[in-house]
């Protein structure tokens, strides 16, 4: 058993070393493209900062809050029980899966944003 564990540890070490070697030897062109990709991603954050939005507000949050506001507003006018499911299906089409995590974990922000959106719509 000990021998088996030792062999597995050796395999882990060798495979990691081979991977590290491969990553260290990436061609300059690939490294350049990765650096460019990073700059593109960060450019969005920079633009947001210059517009005065704090970094902690995800880009789609205001739009999602507005959608949630519209849903709540419509829900008040629709027959009970009819629209809720269909509206969530619509929301699923416009929001990515990762964005949905935010609803669960940043509840306070979304509650505030929804209130704001509902207030704007009168």
């Amino acid at each position: 058993m000990e021998d088996m564990n030792e062999r597995m540890r050796e395999l882990e070490r060798r495979s990691r070393a081979a991977f590290d070697e491969g990553v260290a030897g990436l061609p300059v062109a690939t490294r350049t493209r990765l650096a460019r990709a990073r700059a593109t991603a960060l450019g969005e954050l920079r633009r947001r900062r210059l517009r005065g939005f704090p970094a902690w507000i995800p880009a789609g949050a205001v739009a999602a809050a507005a959608i949630a506001g519209v849903m709540l507003w419509q829900d008040e006018r629709a027959p009970p029980g009819e629209t809720a499911l269909a509206q969530f299906e619509d929301l699923d089409l416009v929001a990515g899966a990762e964005d949905f995590d935010m609803f669960a974990e940043d509840g306070d922000f979304y509650a505030w944003a929804t209130d704001e959106a509902a207030r704007d719509m009168g």
Binding site: R7, M8, L11, E12, R14, S15, R16, A17, A18, F19, E21, G22, V23, L26, T30, R31, R33, L34, A35, A37, R38, T40, A41, L42, E44, L45, R46, R48, R49, G52, P54, A55, W56, I57, P58, A59, G60, G96, A97, E98, D99, M102
Partner: protein, 208 residues
């Protein structure tokens, strides 16, 4: 209604305080930007290595890493820095899965289309791996070993492959890997152990 203006002025900050508040927010945003830049610079090459192994295609791997960077910055820049790595790999994992699904559909369509052979433009990761037989023209020892690993990984379930790459190549701990894979820590341990066993069976006796 004389009370209203008084109440408002009591809750609104003075212009100087508002200015200081804005400047603090700007400073915090700059700090986040710098921290994210360091994080992405430190992770991008390994992420590319993992994506390339999973997808077997250089250009697709670059696209997947770029998309994952953009999504992380767009949606999670405000999260604590220690959450960025598992979140980034979760996004990358989803992106890789999407690419693989799209590739499958493309192949199915080509195979169904009259005259299509199903092997069009998307190389199979197993086929595109280096020849394990080696020989005089074989690449460097490390590359050859990595190509063998790639072949074995291609034959594993996606969960086993992910657990192995995140734990072993990226060096993530069990808890971070569980977040990245969206499963329990127990599952990570099981998948990782099975992947290691499979690699051991094929590569255990391989000598360089």
């Amino acid at each position: 209604m004389p009370e209203e203006p008084l109440t408002r002025s009591a809750t609104l900050p003075a212009p100087a305080a508002r200015c200081a508040g804005r400047s603090a927010i700007r400073e915090a945003a700059l700090d986040t930007e710098r921290a994210l830049e360091r994080f992405l610079a430190g992770i991008e090459r390994r992420a590319f290595g993992i994506a390339r192994l999973a997808l077997g295609d250089h250009a697709e791997a670059e696209d997947a890493v770029q998309d994952a960077m953009i999504r992380l910055v767009r949606n999670y820049a405000g999260r604590p820095a220690e959450q960025w790595r598992p979140l980034f790999y979760r996004i990358l994992r989803n992106r890789i899965t999407d690419s693989q699904r799209r590739r499958k559909v493309r192949r199915a369509v080509i195979a169904w289309w009259p005259g299509g052979d199903g092997d069009g433009d998307a190389p199979d990761p197993v086929d595109s791996a280096a020849d394990p037989g080696g020989g005089p023209d074989a690449a460097l020892e490390g590359e050859e070993f990595l190509a063998r690993i790639q072949r074995v990984l291609a034959g594993l379930s996606s969960r086993q492959r992910e657990a192995f790459m995140l734990r072993n190549f990226e060096g993530m701990d069990v808890a971070q890997t569980a977040i990245a894979m969206g499963c329990s820590e127990g599952s990570v341990k099981t998948h990782y152990f099975r992947a290691l066993q499979a690699l051991q069976e094929v590569l255990g006796e391989w000598k360089t």
